[in-house]
Symmetry: C2
Subunit: 334 residues, 2 copies
DNA sequence: AATCCATTTGCACGCGCGTGCAAAATTTGC
DNA sequence: GCAAATTTTGCACGCGCGTGCAAATGGATT
């Protein structure tokens, strides 16, 4: 099954007639080694089925090239997209990914501990439950030098945030909604625990208040889960008279928007966008489906992932926060 | 930032006034150690911020408690569900997950190599591109003892398959469709490369041929991607006269089914289930949404994940293949 | 042919922890 | 209170590779 026992660099060295260090060099991209030595080594390695042991390498060099990805919010389809992009870019650049499912809110600490034990070089957070106090508590046993919050802005010190500019983005959306002539917006927000949602919600509300002098209705959903979102929206709207209904639901993200659309159509008997328009955020694959054609906002995920790798490679320690600018994706839903 | 420099077990031992080996024992569940020694050690560790180094432990013990999860098929929402279940169960049992995005078909070998370098204890395949020849070629540099194909049956030797019984499942579906009175089924299959789809498709076709003496129409989609599925279904059905249309689309999985439903409704102007019924497979979250209410088949994922952990823990080497039985989830779409 | 410079190769030591067994400490039985 | 049974503790060696520098090799120049 496994090729022989444990073939080490020493074995390959003997087979190739060179020293072990030459073997090591042959396996590094940027090492100074003659072409023919490398060829000899590679052939010997191939013959023996040698595979370098990254555990030992990491132990000796104190760099693991491993990154922990902490995820909690598996109900949001956007997570799948993010995971794909991140792992793709990172793997191309030589970074491996340790996927840690943060089971529940109290599990953030243990999850970070888990990552520490593997001596990852960095931890990337793409969930939502990471309130600042939980993080602070978890800093304790921290054995990695970089804590990166991806696709979510964070003001926490010792933390690098790579995200879209929520304020800018939400202003764009608000302006678009405004320009389309909608006048009775209704904001569907995510869990209160997450700090990003505050930014989006407040930005929208502020905009509307300044522009039209009134505060839009608002509702909170306990998770970025379409089903939950639908339930909350139904409760909020079902008893309203037709004239009291909003003319557009501005949703904090696509997961919420999709749940809302389903409820509007199938529970409340309304047409989208005929009776009520809907906007989202993220541009998940479903947003482009025939059924939803959701007007939403696309984050420049590729750029953000590229920058993430830059951060990983960098030796710097501060001021690496960065905000990106995305763009509205205009479809039929609003 | 990181707590001090590298605190090792030696440091903790000194602090606690015991030997390093007592420290080691304190951190293992099943070690023979007195309660008060453990308490002393734990307090010292806490004071110093000590976190055991799993790289070193793994190197010394030749067990990594790390499992590589190879995924390629990120367009299928079901993958998110599987990843959540697997990582949840595995983490609870002390197994960490290395997520490897198999970038494309030719990348299977390099991806396996990647896992080998981390000396994972096992590799779990939950993608679809793993044809037997690619796998065979990749066996070469194999440094892990277990290759597990999850949620897909495989006859390959040296491979452990944990999956639902496709034949049984598809017979159940066929019988259901039959019993509901549908008479002009149309099968929507996934990529030809995957071996599981053959089983489902052939089982359905065989059933229909034996029961009704005729071979249902059939179409292949190049990936488990709703958008692609929709396109293929549209091409296949758009020129048919109303009377020639099938009365039920039996889809190899939910991703295909959802794409099909969208196309039926929004391109072909048909009602689902009014004009054409649809069945899926997997019971992804969307299947339960108001919009789809998809009749589908649920795999017992939790049971399967539990068994997976059993396999990981086991020292056995053969005959660990296992088929599970799921159940039809009956909703409105058929 | 002698010299110099650039390139290539070799190596001692340490990274942090597990394994298996023997010695020491503690408990039990009477 | 003593011997035997049991639990608890200590340790030498090795897991496989990187680091940084010194020695050696090869090629180019005069």
């Amino acid at each position: 099954m496994a090729t022989g026992a444990n073939i080490t660099a020493d074995d390959v060295a003997a087979e190739a007639g060179v020293s072990r260090w030459t073997v090591t060099r042959a396996f590094r991209k940027d090492a100074s080694i003659s072409a023919k030595s490398r060829a000899k080594v590679m052939q010997a390695a191939e013959r023996l089925g040698y595979v370098p042991d990254l555990r030992a390498a990491s132990l000796a060099s104190d760099r693991s090239n491993l990154v922990a990805l902490l995820v909690d919010d598996f109900a949001n389809p956007h997570k799948l997209v993010m995971m794909e992009r991140l792992t793709r870019v990172m793997r191309r650049k030589g970074w491996d990914t340790l996927l840690v499912n943060t089971l529940d809110k109290a599990d953030t600490g243990p999850a970070l501990l888990n990552a520490s034990q593997r001596r990852v070089d960095a931890v990337i957070l793409i969930g939502l439950q990471f309130d600042d106090d939980v993080l602070a508590a978890a800093q304790h046993a921290r054995r990695f030098s970089k804590l990166i919050v991806f696709a979510r802005s964070s003001q926490k010190p010792d933390t690098i945030s790579i995200a879209v500019d929520d304020v800018q983005a939400m202003r764009d959306i608000a302006a678009y909604v405004d320009a389309q002539g909608y006048r009775r917006p209704f904001f569907v927000a995510g869990p209160r625990t997450s700090s990003a949602h505050l930014l989006r919600k407040e930005t929208f509300i502020d905009y509307w208040q300044q522009t039209h002098g009134l505060r839009p209705d608002c509702v909170n959903v306990a998770a970025y889960d379409p089903a939950l979102s639908g339930a909350v929206v139904e409760t909020a709207l079902k008893d309203r008279a037709r004239a009291d209904l909003p003319d557009v639901l501005v949703c904090e993200n696509d997961a919420l928007a999709i749940g809302a659309i389903d409820t509007l159509r199938h529970r409340l008997g309304l047409r989208v966008p005929g009776d009520i328009a809907v906007t989202g955020f993220d541009d998940i694959p479903q947003a482009d489906s025939l059924n939803y054609q959701l007007t939403t906002y696309r984050q420049p995920l590729d750029e953000m992932a590229d920058y993430l790798v830059e951060v990983l490679d960098s030796r710097e320690d501060r001021d690496m926060n960065r905000l990106f600018r995305g763009a509205i994706v205009r479809r039929d839903s609003a």
